[in-house]
């Protein structure tokens, strides 16, 4: 068994490998001796480096205009209409992108695995392209395209942040999602499952939805989580195309001298994303326990 599963050329593969795959068999359990000085040093350094700014940001976010401390800044998310609207937009984008990713990626991966195993390399290269092209360059290209685009494209595409951003977020998420789902599909006996289902008279759609999907639900959920995280965090394309999404609004708030609010909302975003990924690591583990029984 390989160490990280899919040793894809970029980090995403490792992240997903980490989360989705079983840990490499540890031939000898590592002994835990006296804590070594170098370990302690780096943990202390890391704690200072990473937690001091977080703690500082938390304190900062609690400071109110009147000098006291409180959760007023966190209230902006509910009270301030300028914040709420972009947040709703971002959530909509995240939800729809997540759904599209599943509808699009799962059939693609299954199709490539079953019918076109030769295309695997091609798919891997294509799914890596969004990393080779920096987001800012992608946005630049889009912006120019928008300037010269025919009217109907602008009306149906760029006028709304939803239709303007979702396709590109789905593309941007591809490196994460393709690999996550691919790792999941590779772990099951796809041929047997699909053949059995087809022989029993199921259509392709119901095979996908009722046989394949339940078997790779963790991977699919992982792909969705990563897409949602990406949609809630992406700012470069949204800014260059002048859309009002949540992260863009954060920057605007900061420029309007409402730094406290923007820091508070940042804390919420960080916490939310962390929770998403943290849940994911537990889901991945749960699958490990029950997979054998589910497949037999």
């Amino acid at each position: 068994m390989t160490v990280s599963g899919s040793m894809g050329p970029f980090g995403q593969a490792e992240l997903i490998g980490e989360m989705m795959e079983e840990p490499p068999p540890q031939s000898v359990p590592r002994r835990r001796g006296r804590p070594r000085i170098w370990r302690v040093t780096i943990f202390v350094l890391a704690a200072i480096f990473f937690f001091v700014p977080l703690a500082a940001a938390f304190k900062y976010s609690l400071q109110q205009d009147n000098g006291g401390y409180g959760f007023a800044n966190y209230g902006t998310i509910i009270h301030n209409k300028d914040v709420r609207a972009p947040l709703v937009t971002s959530l909509e984008i995240a939800a729809i992108s997540g759904a599209i990713v599943i509808l699009l990626m799962l059939p693609t991966v299954v199709w490539v695995r079953l019918k076109k195993p030769r295309a695997t390399t091609f798919m891997e290269v294509v799914t890596l392209l969004p990393i080779v092209i920096p987001p800012v360059v992608m946005a630049a290209g889009l912006e120019q395209f928008e300037l010269n685009a025919p009217q109907w494209v602008i009306q149906h595409g760029f006028d709304s942040p939803l239709s303007g951003l979702i396709p590109f977020y789905v593309v941007l998420a591809m490196p994460f999602t393709y690999r996550a789902i691919d790792t999941g599909v590779r772990a099951i006996d796809l041929h047997t499952l699909v053949d059995a289902s087809r022989n029993l008279g199921a259509s392709w759609a119901s095979t996908l939805a009722r046989v394949v999907l339940p078997n790779v639900q963790t991977a699919v959920l992982g792909a969705m989580f990563l897409t949602v995280a990406l949609c809630l965090g992406e700012v470069v394309i949204a800014t260059l195309l002048l859309y009002q999404t949540f992260p863009v609004e954060l920057i605007v708030l900061n420029h309007q001298q409402q730094a406290g609010a923007s820091v508070a909302l940042s804390m919420l975003t960080l916490a939310f994303t962390f929770l998403l990924l943290f849940t994911l690591s537990f889901l991945a583990q749960r699958r490990r326990g029950s997979r054998a029984t589910r497949l037999l």
Binding site: P9, E14, F43, A56, P130, G141, G233
Partner: protein, 266 residues
Amino acid sequence: MVVFLGIPLFVVVHGSLTTETNQFTFDNFKQTWDSQGYRLAFKNSLILSVWTSILGAFFGTWLAAAVVTAKPGGMLHRITQSGSGVLAYFAGVPLAFCFIAALGQTGVVTVLLKHFGIDLYAHGFTISSMIGVGLCYVYFQIPLMIILITPALEGLRSEWQEAALNLGASRFGYLRHVAVPVLLPSFVGATLILFGNAFSAYATALALVGSTLSIVPAQIDNALNGNVLVGADRAGLTLGMEMIVVVLIVMVGYWFVQRRARRWLR
């Protein structure tokens, strides 16, 4: 799918290789190279990417090594994994604001240090300087390094260490003759990725400083949205093309290193 990726890519490639009247030319590249501002942006971007990636690579490996030796599947692993994922991939803007809250002009840490008589800003430090932005970059470089290097570290078999120690090697000797040579390709590869990552990152800088910072992505933003000059659009696209070329070179380097890395890590 390919269409949505292809359109922006095509526009950039096409735009950078043509004149206003749609003729094929390499002039755009020459012009961006002759421009003092763009050259400075490239220099800044390269310097920023180099030092943040090297710093991130060393501390990331160190931290990852410390985490890997802990109990597998434990809480520490989980938190590091999820935390790294958040910081490395999804945190651009929020990260920048936490950073402002800590080290900005009225930031908590700045104020705290002033109490102890250390005035950061008196010594010319600002978070909108290259150093400040770079320091913030390190916050996502280290986690990314952890994600990238952990599989390689886990691939180090404990048998190798035992064999080396049984054959009379010291701990340092094991590191020097076994661990480092095995890890080196992975380390170099991961550092290259960190470089590419820093080079193409923009969200953090955008949140910290805005589009006035002299790095390439900010210049692209400026050229396209700033309406400073006629023909700036084309300069923006050309810069974009040049960025793709740089990242592509890094990728190719990574492929070569990765091939070597795979030899031991299976």
